[in-house]
Each structure stands twice: as structure tokens, then as C-alpha cells.
């Protein structure tokens, strides 16, 4: 696997300067995305996962500043050094995004067709008629029945699942190399969620694009991602390939997250729960950001921020005492056996 990454994010820091103080929404995030793979970013509200994706596309609101020293290298170009014009050529063309709420993300006064055509006309050298044909083609591809008719409908005329399909059609109309999907199925019912995720997988195979899948649902991550980044308090807490992280998590937060959800595949006596609350991004605790809620905490943790430690090749954890988790796992297993 000596591939060049398609996207490299290095030391990304996005701060919001508000009246109450500086919100360090993203505070030193590193990760790569390789061609054709799905990278899952998982975290709770306030972990910085959505801000990360908006920063990649440079879609921050004016209060947000990308700090000096941050790097986003996409296909050999540093996106942070591009002019607005150059950025516009990438956005929607080489990197596309799907949002959580299709009703909010779609413009209610334009038809689905017009909105898909807008992207095509902007980035490709085709006339209106061809663009319309391409839009209809895209709608057919994402499984919208009667695309010739649907192309002239407005977003409110479609169901939630159909709207999300239309969003995907729009995002993929220019065959992007990278698709960022920010909670693409959170607003949908589970049976519709299954349809949409299946569709994304099929289209990924066909187009060979890379996907960044951002979600709070570890189940969605387990079934769809190749590699996983776990975020908490604006930092990457753990990253590894999907099988390893679910089998042998090496960060107490990841471990807590995995043991605190009700699951269909195993019997559970009692759910573990991570004590305390998600920290306020204005007042992160000293040292490790998770130390106030951690069951494995030692005095060092509240003084010093642990670095990302390579536990095994390709598996990084931001925890001094990741070895303690093995023991916990053993105790847990023994408890289950008894």
C-alpha cells in the first residue's frame, strides 16, 4: 500500500473568534484519504467533525479562521493557498459534498433539474440541452423513478429519501474524485438509510471516488468505512483500519463509545456509560481533552496532552495508557464468560 494519498490534512486548526472567546473547533487534525477508499470520521456533537469537512471545502462562516500552519493538500495542491476563483473550480467539481438535511441544502425555488444542471454547466463545457440530458441520466443512476418527470419537480415534491438521492445526483454529476458526506443518512429512516448507503457504495465502485463519511453512528461506520478517524474535542483521538478499531480499540473514548451503544448482534446486561458531559469547546480541560471523563485516568493526563502514538503499524492512539485497555477488555470478557 505505497499509494500517494488523494487528500492529506496536516495540523489543521480552525478557530472561531466569538464574543465569548476563541472556540477551537478543530485543533490540530491530521489524516489522509486514499483514492477509492472510504474514510469514516466519527464523533459526537462538538467534536469538530463537521467543521473539518467545511474547512476542506473552505466554506466557513466569517468568524471561523483557518490558523497558520494548517495544510490541506488535495491532488498535489494546497487548497489553503488557492485563490477564491481556483477554489470554486474545485468545489463541486473535484470535491463534492452531501449534507445532512437535503431540504435545507437544496434550493426550494429551483427545480431539481435546474440545480443539477447548474453544477454541470459551471464545470463542464456543454450546452443546456446536453446538461439536461446528463441531469436526467444522473437521476436515473441514483434510482429516482421516472427521471424525465422528476427533473422538473421542486424539492418539496420529493420524499426525504428521494431528496437525498437528488443531492447525491448533484454531487456526483461532475464525477468528483472526493465526496464528503456529512451525516448523509441521519435524517432518514433506517430502511431508507440502508438504500442510500447501498447506493453510495455502488456509485463509489463505479466511479472509483474516495468518500469521507462523517457520522455519529458507529454502526454506519462499521458497515461502510475502510478506515476510521475518531474525533473528540477538536482532536483526532484514534485512527486505524475499521476491523482493528472495532476489535481492539486503543483509546478509552473509542472503547467507551463502542460499549455504550445498544446493539443487535450481542446480548448486553448493562450498557457502559461514559461519565460526564461533552466538554464545552470554550473551556477544554487541561492536558488530555478526555481526561475528565476517562476511567483510566492518571495524574499525568490532566497536565500533558498525549501525542498520537503509533500502537501498531497504521493504528494511532492519543493516549499514554492505551495498554490499560487490554486489561479492561480481558476483565470484561471474563465477566461475560461467568
Amino acid at each position: 500500500m505505497e499509494k500517494q494519498p488523494l487528500l492529506t490534512v496536516r495540523n489543521l486548526r480552525t478557530y472561531f473568534y466569538t464574543e465569548d472567546g476563541v472556540v477551537k473547533a478543530v485543533d490540530g487534525v491530521d489524516f489522509e484519504v486514499y483514492e477509492g477508499e472510504t474514510l469514516g470520521i466519527v464523533g459526537e456533537s462538538g467534536s469538530g467533525k463537521s467543521v473539518t469537512s467545511l474547512t476542506i471545502l473552505r466554506l466557513l462562516d466569517p468568524k471561523g479562521k483557518i490558523e497558520e500552519g494548517s495544510e490541506i493538500i488535495f491532488d498535489g495542491k494546497n487548497l489553503l493557498e488557492l485563490s477564491d476563483d481556483e477554489m470554486r473550480k474545485i468545489r463541486g467539481n473535484e470535491i463534492a459534498m452531501i449534507f445532512q438535511e437535503p431540504m435545507v441544502a437544496l434550493n426550494p425555488v429551483f427545480t431539481i433539474g435546474e440545480q443539477i444542471m447548474e453544477a454541470i454547466l459551471l464545470h463542464q463545457d456543454v450546452d443546456k440541452k446536453t446538461a439536461r440530458e446528463m441531469a436526467i441520466d444522473m437521476l436515473r443512476k441514483v434510482g429516482i423513478p421516472e427521471p424525465q418527470k422528476r427533473v422538473d419537480e421542486y424539492p418539496h415534491e420529493l420524499s426525504g429519501g428521494m431528496r437525498q438521492r437528488a443531492m447525491i445526483a448533484m454531487a456526483l454529476s461532475c464525477r468528483p474524485k472526493l465526496l464528503i458526506a456529512d451525516e448523509p443518512t441521519t435524517a432518514l429512516d433506517v430502511t431508507i438509510q440502508a438504500q442510500i448507503l447501498e447506493l453510495m457504495k455502488e456509485l463509489q465502485k463505479e466511479y472509483g471516488m474516495a468518500i469521507i463519511l462523517i457520522t455519529h453512528d458507529v454502526g454506519v461506520i462499521a458497515e461502510n468505512a475502510d478506515r476510521v478517524v475518531v474525533m473528540y474535542g477538536g482532536k483526532v483521538m484514534e485512527t486505524s483500519d475499521v476491523k482493528t478499531i472495532f476489535k481492539k480499540p486503543k483509546h478509552p473514548y473509542t472503547w467507551g463509545l463502542l460499549t455504550s451503544i445498544p446493539r443487535l448482534d450481542v446480548e448486553q446486561e448493562r450498557l457502559y456509560s461514559i461519565p460526564g458531559m461533552v466538554p464545552d469547546p470554550l473551556h477544554f480541560p487541561q492536558g488530555c481533552r478526555f481526561n475528565t471523563r476517562c476511567d483510566f485516568k492518571e495524574s499525568k493526563c490532566s497536565v500533558e496532552m498525549p501525542p498520537l502514538i503509533e500502537v501498531e503499524p497504521g493504528h494511532l492512539s492519543r493516549c499514554f495508557f492505551y495498554n490499560k485497555l487490554d486489561e479492561a477488555q480481558k476483565i470484561l470478557k471474563a465477566g461475560e464468560g461467568a
Partner: protein, 393 residues
Amino acid sequence: MTENKATLNKNGNSTSEKKVLLKIDNLVKHFPIKAGVFKRIVAWVKAVDGVSFEVNNGETVGLVGESGCGKTTVGMTLLRLYEPTSGRIIVDGEDTTHYFLPSWKAKNYVRKTYLERFKKSGFVPNDELDKKYFEIFTKNGESGLIDYLVGNLEEKRLAFRRDIQIVFQDPYSSLDPRMRVKNILAEGPLAHKMITRDQTIDRIGKALEEVGIHPTHMYRFPHEFSGGQRQRIGIARALLMNPKLIIADEAVAALDVSIRSQVINLMMDLQKEHDLTYLFISHDLSLIKYISSRVVVMYLGKVVETALKKDLFDEPLHPYTKALMSAIPVPNPEFKKQRIILQGDVPSPVNPPSGCPFHPRCPVAKPICSTEKPALREIKSEHFVACHFPGSL
């Protein structure tokens, strides 16, 4: 009163003798769609269309389904935040359907539901309730039964409002932003004269402590709390009324993953401590599997399957239940499961499909499914399915 309740709970909890706390009998709720200048009714949204199930004392029943299946409407109708279109809501062995009607309508309801049948010659009681009311009817006559059911309606309403409490989904809109937590929590118990003003601080402090919030925080306003804490306050508010039944409508859906398990565990601990009965309404099958003892699956205003938790998850018999289970993402990349991807969307409850409501999306539908409505029948002990071909998927 409290003593009374304690003995009652003990009975309810003994496994040999189950006591039905809540019985929903063929509940129907249709909402009118009005249009035009004269607000003529042009169609009906059949949100709940003939739903029946029971909740036993001390158990947790999970009511599960996708958006638009009517699960929330069941909860709201049960609480009489909506008046049912038809059907009966029986709480603790008494018909409560007419409690919130004006008394002439309530009398009409009693005449129609019971007296008309009782007066016919050769009447045979359908169930326990019929038997009980028929006895009163034969002993005290028509006016006797009306008096029994409609007399003291105001008192009955109060008791009903005490006995059934709800915890809402959105902890941000379910607490009055202008009231201090203390006043939010004291409102109910004071109105029902369950506590005196001098006792408020003491009682509310205790209730907050029980849900894991520091008693001194009772002077704060809701906006000073996080989502998880607000949900705890909502639970404390329900608990303070010593309810027989707590309806939890997507009570943890709005919370973050790490906070969700805290609240779920709290609710389960409180259940053990207070012998609570829960009706847990949720779209999340994994959560339902964890928390409930019995499960009711709804689709498009109808119950499609109901069974004890273990039976349902070990052997789902309705194709919809099976598809729903296979659609839930399992947090284990090495877990192999049967993937059933349903086609299409949930149809509109204004124009539900003929026959079985699930047939347009059902992978194993046969011609009969589009013409004939399958009845909810008991296939195994306590396992009811509304399907012509149960277990075929």
C-alpha cells in the same frame, strides 16, 4: 394511597400473575385534511388505524416503527392529547376512553359502547371488562352503570393525569424556558395536592438527586443545563407524580451517544427502584432490544407484529420486522448478516395501500396480499403477526 400502590406493584411484579395495566383496544385516530374557503374535509390521514396491545404492570413495552407509522400518535392519543376517533383505552381495569369528553358525550359513549349491547337478549361478554360492567348493569340498571362510568368525571380525570406521565423527545422545547427548574417540577405535585408548599424544596431536591442532578441546581433555568441534564429533569418531572405508567417518546433520540447510555441506564435503574411501567416509543430497534421486555412493531398505522423480546429478535415472522432488523447498521465490521434492502418509501397514510399495508414494498408479497387485509393472529404463544405468509422471508 402510597401504601395501596406498593401492594399493587408487588402483585404486578410476581411473574405468575400478570396484571394488565394498560390495554389499547382497536384504537383509531384519523386526522381531517381541510381545504377550500369553507374548510371542507377532503381526506383523512389515517395515522392510527386499529391498534391493539397490552402493557403489563412492571414491564417495558417497546413501540417501534419508522417515521409516519403512527407510534407517536398512539402515545398522544393514549394521553388524550388527541381524542381517539374510535377504540378503547383501558387503564387498570377501567375504561378511560370517555374521561376527557363533556359529560353528555361521555354518556353517549357509554350507551353506544356498552348499554346497547348489554340490552340485547342473549348478550355474551367479550372480555373481563364487559363482564364487570355487565354485572354493574344487571345490579344497578342503566343509570347505575352510567353513574359508575361517568360520575365524578373531574376526579377521574385528575387521577388519570397523575397516573400516566410522559417524557418527550426534545428536551429543549419540553421545559418552559421562563420557569426555574424548581417551579417546573413543583407544578404538577402542587396542583394535585400531593405535596404542600413547605415540602416542595425537600421533595424536589430528592427527585433531582435521584436523577443525578445536584439539588442546589433547582433554582436554575432550563437553558443552564445540557440536553442530557434536561432530559433528566423531564424524567424527574414524570417521577414526582408517582405514575403507574411512563410513556417515553423517543426520550433519548436527541442525545449524544455517550449521554444516551447514561439516560437509558438511569431509566432502567429507576424502573427497578420504583416498579415503574414504561411504554417506550422509538425508531431504534437496537435500543428497543436493550430496554424492553415486549415489542410492538408498527407500520403505517397498524401493528404488524408483537411478541416477547426474545421471540421477536430470535425469530421475526413479519417480513417488515425482518427487513427493519437487517437495515440496522451493526457496529461490528466482521458481523455477517442477511441484507434485505426494501424498495421505495413508506406510502402515505392518506391513501394506504389496499390489503396488507406493507405489500407494495414486501419482497415476498403474493396476489392475496394486495386484496385481503391480514388479521393480527397468534402464531406462537404471545407472538402475534399480521401477515398472510408469516416467516416466509
